[in-house]
């Protein structure tokens, strides 16, 4: 049985795993999961991951959650080039340090901005909330193609380097879904998303 990756490319950690696997030519079965449709709550997915989040991996009878754990597992199993996750003590520590910090830093705040800008308005209808600035021009967000004008110079330069190292084609492919987020809001069925309302009210209001 081929390695399976359960992904919704709307999600940042899914994109990380997708890009990493593809860039390293790791073959996998792309199991598309739609968070918008609540597929993470299905019985089948519950057998893959009780945490009910994406990304998730299934390798034979070994199931794994958490994008960081998945990427490190793939790096080790498929012996990806050292620079991805260096064996050197100090360099590895630096990567681990970042991977740990990002959970409650950029990842959390970036997600919040995404929810506020893209999902919430169509759900809550709070006054005249308009998506004036696109999600793309939000604060710097790792792995996301932010518009040049809004990104600081060093971060823009860094983003360009990442894009070049990964390869423009793969980078664009991974992000095409999310870059169309603003457009897809317009066609979103808000009744489908009512399940998120309590969460949003608690987290953001």
């Amino acid at each position: 049985m081929a390695l399976e990756l359960y992904l919704d490319l709307f999600s940042q950690p899914c994109r990380s795993v997708y890009i990493f696997a593809k860039k390293n030519n790791i073959s996998f079965d792309f199991k598309k999961l739609s968070l918008l449709d609540g597929q993470q709550y299905g019985e089948d997915f519950g057998k893959i991951s009780l945490i009910r989040k994406v990304p998730a991996l299934r390798d034979g009878d070994f199931c794994l959650a958490e994008s960081v754990a998945i990427m490190l597992y793939l790096a080790e199993k498929f012996k990806t080039p050292d620079f991805w996750y260096p064996a050197d003590l100090r360099q590895r520590a630096r990567v681990n340090e970042y991977l740990s910090w990002q959970h409650t830093a950029i990842r959390m705040h970036g997600s919040k901005i995404f929810w506020l800008r893209v999902r919430s308005p169509s759900l809550i209808c709070v006054g005249a909330v308009r998506l004036v600035m696109s999600y793309l021009s939000s604060l710097p967000f790792i792995g996301l193609l932010a518009q040049r004008e809004s990104c600081s110079e060093p971060l823009s330069a860094w983003r360009d380097r990442v894009q070049e190292a990964v390869g423009k084609e793969l980078f664009d492919e991974a992000h095409q879904y999310i870059l169309g987020a603003q457009e897809s809001v317009k066609s979103m069925d808000s009744s489908k998303m009512q399940v998120y309302k309590p969460k949003i009210l608690r987290l953001f209001m």
Binding site: I51, E66, V68, A69, K77, N96, W101
Partner: protein, 226 residues
């Protein structure tokens, strides 16, 4: 125990965590993030507890037993999976209850609304459920038969709010048994020593209010809790 041996291999500079010190210039020079723990190994400075734990087990691999942070692909993945999950789950939820009971009311000069506390307690419950059902299941420890860093990282979070009157172990015999196994593996003395300062947190609100630096720190802390 192996853990004792590993700790004695290096001399840690213990910075006592008081209200003032993480905002001092000296500490800022060590870590711009201004959080603890921070490790300084010669000229190498490292933050983030999970990164520090891995660094120590890798550096002292000669004397730290493999079960703490196994080299095996799948076992290691399980540690990484736990480390990753706990940030925004068990750790975040238990910390929130702790802060809501001990810090926030003092800093924000306000009572915690019942709804806020209920929501925080519900989150802890969900995290504890997942710890039992997904991470522990029917195994003695998270990785299986032997203790690992995952168990240590987990147990300290649940203990955090105990001094404030919230015992996450209550009504969970499975977790109690696991905690006792962890305590036994680590040694009661070490376990108690590590938790001594925390257990005195019941008088923390008053201590905080009486502290001379409270007035200066209040606006900084208020920003964190908004």
């Amino acid at each position: 125990s192996t853990l004792d041996q590993s700790f004695s291999l290096f001399s840690g500079i213990f910075i006592k965590y008081t209200l003032r010190q993480q905002y001092s210039k000296e500490f800022g020079d060590i870590s711009i993030v201004r959080k603890v723990p921070v490790m300084k190994d010669g000229g190498f400075i490292l933050t983030e507890s999970t990164a520090i734990l891995e660094y120590l087990t890798q550096k002292y691999s000669g004397s730290v037993a493999d079960h703490w942070f196994p080299a095996d692909l799948q076992q290691r993945a399980r540690v990484n999976e736990y480390f990753s999950w706990q940030h925004m789950n068990l750790r975040a939820h238990c910390s929130k209850v702790f802060l809501l009971r001990v810090r926030v009311p003092i800093v924000m000069d306000a009572e915690i609304p019942k709804e806020t506390m209920d929501f925080a307690l519900e989150n802890v419950k969900q995290s504890l459920n997942l710890l039992e059902e997904k991470f522990l299941q029917s195994k003695p420890f998270i990785l299986g038969d032997k203790i690992s860093v995952a168990d240590v990282v987990a147990v300290v979070e649940i203990i955090q709010p105990i001094g404030t009157g919230f015992d996450g172990f209550e009504g969970r015999p499975k977790l109690i048994a696991w905690r006792d196994r962890v305590k036994k593996e680590l040694g009661e003395k070490l376990f108690e020593e590590a938790h001594e300062a925390l257990m005195k947190s019941s008088n923390m609100p008053q201590k905080l209010k009486n502290s001379s630096s409270f007035a200066q720190l209040k606006p900084i802390l208020q920003k964190l809790f908004r």
